[in-house]
Symmetry: C2
Subunit: 154 residues, 2 copies
Amino acid sequence: MKVLGIDPGTAACGYGIIQADGGRLAALEHGWWRSSAREAPELRLKRIHDGVTGLIADHRPDAVALEESYVGADARIALSVGQARGAVLVACASAELSCAEYPPATVKQAVCGYGRADKVQVQRMVATILALDVAICHILAAPLARAVAAGAAR
Amino acid sequence: MKVLGIDPGTAACGYGIIQADGGRLAALEHGWWRSSAREAPELRLKRIHDGVTGLIADHRPDAVALEESYVGADARIALSVGQARGAVLVACASAELSCAEYPPATVKQAVCGYGRADKVQVQRMVATILALDVAICHILAAPLARAVAAGAAR
């Protein structure tokens, strides 16, 4: 099973691809797309969309997992994060891949065994690799939990 | 000049296309895409993305205008509106069209001559046609105001 994990954001959108063979997990590729606030938003979003499309074409993952975006009190930030998520989700749907969504605590629980792990603990566990934790979470999740997460993204 | 106006939303995303010949405005097409909350979000967003892509291919507009989304206190609604905006903006950027963005008051001022016009007044002015008002606003805007609006979308 191969999973593409994405942490959506407009300024920086991180991704990681995890391959699971039996009980063994391997990171295939990871990175991020960055853009400047001085660029037109549609061009920044296109870069994310085309980046996801390219990753899917190169790696042919079986599933895509997103971390549920934390939406604080600031609706303007939520709108911006939403736009990045829209670019990612369109790319997945165009490739006929469904997206599962996990709350941050579930990701931390799966990766660190502790839902309130701090950033440093998570980083240690995923060896400073961006976004791979969500993909790992999706692979470690029991089939039932995966179905629930895919439902939650609806 | 031909302008595609879009009022982004996930449940209902409205659009209208206005053609300006000299001082004459004509509505070429209008409508909306609707989807149910029971569908996967990536499929709902793909429908919006593919709809915008199809409209652009059919009508070849010179510009796209969006109404600045009102983001109230609810960050979850803002996230959802943002996702729909992301799907629209990716479609525009893929067609190499830039997007101008206008605040609701500017749209009302341009269409009704009164920035605080209510919904019924706006509807009367655009003959109950959805989303055409933003396109009309973009056509009526002076070239300088258009440049400013295109800048505001950055």
